[in-house]
Symmetry: C2
Subunit: 246 residues, 2 copies
């Protein structure tokens, strides 16, 4: 009946440390930490989430696994840092008189691209709250867009959350799907062939789904088809928001 360790996010813990003046990290620590995070992302991108272990990362960095703990307290912290690093890639056009709809569309595509480029990202996002500096900055810029458009605070929150939820929801699924095929070592055709009997059996008494599946097999769900579907949904969301703009 021992109490749980009560994990605290990097951001929270390090903000608390910063309050005590003497606890600053050493000068050379910062570049090394960034370097570790970059290496971790490289492994995550090329070998997948499950391939990232501290020993593997240490080997890539040419150091012992346990040396990493000098720069980073946890693997959890490391992943939080990787998440926020990825969020840094996301662009939000702000200012310059672009209207909210175009700005939001640009943001949505940018967020999607980040999620597709880093298939591990969506899996981790569903793990713990993300309040890193880049994530906050992204939210602030999105808030700015709708603040400039005249929404009140509650509607800004609602609107921004809706857009992000849709993009993460669909892109996470798309990225996972693509990643599953890619890392299976099979071609797209081999993969669908392997899954054909299971799908056919599962849809045996589901005529509507089967009809859609049959009709939509050519062209297969390659990138452009996924992109068209993403754009369709995004237009739906934006139209719905447009109906609520002042």
């Amino acid at each position: 009946m021992t109490a749980k360790p009560q994990y605290i996010s990097v951001w929270v813990r390090e903000a608390a440390e910063r309050a005590r003046p003497a606890a600053e990290k050493p000068g050379r620590g910062q570049p090394s930490r960034a370097q570790i995070v970059r290496a971790a992302i490289e492994i995550l991108d090329t070998e997948g989430l499950d391939a990232l272990s501290m020993r593997r990362l240490g080997a890539k960095l040419g150091m012992g696994a346990t040396s990493i703990y000098w720069y980073v307290a946890n693997k959890t912290d490391l992943l939080d840092l990787a998440i926020d690093e990825a969020f840094g890639e996301i662009a939000v056009p702000v200012g310059g008189g672009i209207d909210w709809r175009e700005a939001t569309a640009v943001f949505a595509h940018s967020l999607r691209r980040a999620l597709m480029r880093h298939p591990w990202l969506a899996r981790l996002l569903g793990g713990r709250p993300n309040i890193g500096p880049n994530a906050l900055r992204m939210s602030d810029r999105m808030a700015t867009i709708f603040d400039d458009a005249g929404l009140d605070h509650e509607d800004i929150d609602f609107t921004v959350t809706t857009v992000i939820a849709y993009v993460i929801g669909i892109s996470g699924a798309d990225a996972t799907w693509r990643d599953t095929v890619n890392t299976s070592g099979l071609t797209y055709d081999e993969w669908t062939e392997q899954h054909e009997p299971a799908l056919r059996a599962g849809m045996a008494d589901l005529p509507r789904l089967r009809a859609i599946y049959e009709k939509r097999r050519l062209p297969p769900d390659t990138g452009s088809a996924l992109e068209a579907r993403f754009d369709f949904g995004l237009r739906c969301v934006l139209d719905g928001i447009a109906g609520r703009m002042p």
Copy 2:
């Protein structure tokens, strides 16, 4: 340089086994398997995703950890089965002359409820493609709704995917957030207090975000506030879809 094991989903593998006539599972196997999956879900719901280990599950079932492997090939398979079991709880009203908009809203709330009831679900959904029988049946029923409303195959696919993406995107985030607070062992107030300095520091030079945060602190983001936000976004999505209906 050994090749990866090439994991195949339960559904695919067992559909292939079913093709060979003699490979059916024994009669008593089925109830026991369902019982194992139910026990796994119980652990997942009450203790979280990380708490589910084969030994822990075996202990709960009063059997050795390795005995479970008689009924289930993998932990991965077990989780796939748990996912589909959870999908079985989702209701899709079909037939009976309800219009598509109300039917979709009922479905969306039902899906959300399942995701909130099983906080582990969203985390796992971003892990591998979900083609279990309950998931397929759910998709088929959603397809039926929009087929009856007169959409063509492509638009049915696009529309259903959009709704599901939004619901999973927002509910996954909400469930994770709530779960993080709950399992921290802190009250809501204690938790926000603990995160206050980090958020304040992070938002130091983000005035818009800070303004929203300040203004929206009372009432705190309890269940009803999250529900209002969910409904707002759902209305946006449904409005956008409505504009594309024949």
